[in-house]
């Protein structure tokens, strides 16, 4: 055998977030993350790690470092103002029985 490093990804492999479209017409959903040396390897790893059981028909990978995220410290300012605006939920309508998938 060669020189296995104990199963951990090499430290300089960046982290990628993986998104899988489970079938045509549906959106890509975040399923997890993995390490890869480059984008091509990330797609191949995603295929091997996340679509082994026919979970998907399309893969997106994005370098985790490229994702711009909201700051948890801003949660009050960002999300609490929506709390008292229940009228934004479309729950005040009677949905006819014929309408499905709403």
């Amino acid at each position: 055998m060669g020189d296995p490093s104990g199963g951990a990804a090499p430290a300089d492999w960046p982290l990628y977030e993986v998104f899988i479209r489970s079938r045509s017409g549906l959106e890509h959903k975040h399923v997890g993350s993995l390490h890869a040396a480059d984008a091509r390897m990330a797609v191949e790893h995603a295929r091997d790690v996340y679509t082994r059981r026919q979970e998907g028909v399309s893969i997106w990978v994005v370098r985790s470092a490229d994702i711009v995220a909201s700051d948890p410290a801003d949660a009050e300012a960002l999300f609490e103002p929506a709390r008292d605006k229940v009228y934004r939920h479309p729950t005040f309508y009677a949905i006819p029985d014929e309408v499905k998938n709403l």
Binding site: M1, G2, P4, G7, W13, L34, E44, H45, R47, D48
Partner: protein, 264 residues
Amino acid sequence: MSAGAAAPARRERALSEALFRYVLRLADTSLVLGQRLGEWVGHGPALEEDLALANLALDLIGQARLLLTYAGEVEGEGRDEDALAFSRDAPEFLNLTLAEQPNGDFAHTIVRQWLIDCWQLEIYADLAASADERLAAIAAKALKETRYHHRFSSGWLARLGDGTAESRSRTQAALDSLWRFSAELFAADEVDERMAAAGIAAPLAPAAERWRIRAAADLQAATLALPAPQPYPWHGKRGVHTEHLGHLLGEMQHLQRAYPGVRW
């Protein structure tokens, strides 16, 4: 039986024996390479690579199962896939010598994989149009898997060859050491010729030419040097193996040898 009827029967038997050996060569190459890749499980350079190599192994063992089952039917002696996989000794295995070579370092594993992927791409593409419908169906399925295998191995070949000084020197060393087994890939013998004459397999020379073109392009992308052609002293597909196959079979067949017919 009259002399007139005996000759066609003899020809048919000879063709069936050649087909048995031909299918075994394909089956054993997949089986032995799959077993080799399985040795990486738990030892991969990264968890993701561990899974990737195991996936390749499972594809190859799946191919071997279909092919061994068919070989057993062609032989007509009642041997199934398990009997052929676990109850034959090394001289009865007809895999390419390259497939049984040890994993070595990751570069050796990748170079070995890439050489065989390039070979299977051509062989399966031709077989998908075989006059033998069973082989054509197996090849069509295997070809899809092999396209992914080649994508994986050629990607790594480029990454390692065009990578660091160490990855480059290790990969070139692996290439230089394994290249001597590559002449066997397309060295046709009487079995191959009989298959080509019967329309079951395509002649190997055009496939060899396509293989050379693809291999040269992949090596160029990997900035690796094409080794000089090597003479052809390897005869794995005739049952003459390097010492490595016996050890591999010892591990692979241990359970069935110790407890014949065991199931779980």
